[in-house]
Subunit: 125 residues, 2 copies
DNA sequence: GGAAGTACCTACAAAAATGTTAGTGTGAAA
DNA sequence: TTTCACACTAACATTTTTGTAGGTACTTCC
C-alpha cells in the first residue's frame, strides 16, 4: 500500500492534491503554514536579513525554531542561505524566486487578516 | 505587562500586526493555517457539507480533529453550523461571507503549491 | 436480528512541536 | 576585564497537538 500510492504524485501520474494525505503538496503546505514558516516567509519578502535581525522582527520565536524552520524552508527551495566565512559569523538569508512567490500568497492572507480583523468575531478575547 | 500591550489591538489603538506576538491577528492566522483549518476552509468553499462528508473529503483527518477545528472556525466567525433536530442527526456546515474570503486566500496558496509542485525541490522524498 | 450510518463527546495515550539552558570561538565595545 | 553580539547546535523538559477507543440514541438497509 506504499509504492503505487506514494510514487504517483512525483512523476505526474496523478495531479497534485492537498486533500490527499500522502501527496507531497500537503507536506509543502504544512511547511508554509507552520507556526513560524509563514512569518519567516513574510519577514523575508524583498529583504536580505541576518539571523538575529529576523529573530527581532518575528516576536516570540526562539532561536531553535528560527534555525529549524529556516532549514526546512531552505530544503524546500524557498530560502537561500549565504554564509560568509568570517568571525564573528555573518550569514544572510533571502528568498529564492520560488520563495517570493510563496511568500506573496501567505502575505496576502496575513494582510487580509490584519485589515479585516475588526470584522472577525473571534478576534477578541 | 498585560493590559496596555494586550488591549491596544482590540480598539484600534495599534494597527494589527502578525509580527507582534500578542496581536489577535496572529491567533487568527494560526487558526486558518493550522494543520486542518486550511483544508476545512478549502473543502467548504462554495459548498454545504455534512460532517461525515467532509471527513471523507479531507483524507487523514480524525473525527476529533474535524469536530474541534470546526468549533474553532465557528467561534472565529468563518464557519456556519446549522443543525436540524432530527434523528439520525443532520448537521450542515458552510462558510460565512467572511469565511469565503479567508478560504479564497488559502485556496490560492494551496492552488499555487499544487500547480508549482514540480518546481519545488523539497517536494520529493 | 444484526450491521452500518449519523454527529458528535469524553477519557486516555501517544506523538509532535516547541521552549530552555548551556555551550562554541572570536571581536569589539564598555 | 567583563560583557555583549554573532549564528548556531545539542540535550533535555515541557507543552501542545493529535490520535484511539468507547459510548450515545435512533433509523434504515440487508
Amino acid at each position: 500500500m506504499s509504492d503505487s500510492t506514494t510514487l504517483g504524485w512525483q512523476d505526474g501520474r496523478f495531479a497534485p492534491d492537498v486533500m490527499a494525505a500522502d501527496c507531497p503538496s500537503r507536506r509543502i503546505l504544512t511547511h508554509i503554514t507552520s507556526r513560524w514558516g509563514g512569518l519567516i516567509l513574510i519577514a523575508l519578502r524583498g529583504e536580505v536579513l541576518r539571523f538575529s535581525e529576523m529573530r527581532r522582527r518575528i516576536a516570540g520565536i526562539s532561536e531553535r525554531m528560527l534555525a529549524q524552520t529556516l532549514q526546512t524552508l531552505e530544503a524546500d527551495g524557498f530560502v537561500l542561505r549565504k554564509a560568509y566565512d568570517v568571525v564573528p559569523p555573518h550569514v544572510e538569508y533571502s528568498l529564492t524566486p520560488l520563495g517570493e512567490e510563496a511568500a506573496e500568497k501567505i502575505s496576502e492572507l496575513s494582510h487580509w487578516i490584519e485589515t479585516n480583523l475588526h470584522r472577525i468575531p473571534g478576534a477578541a478575547g
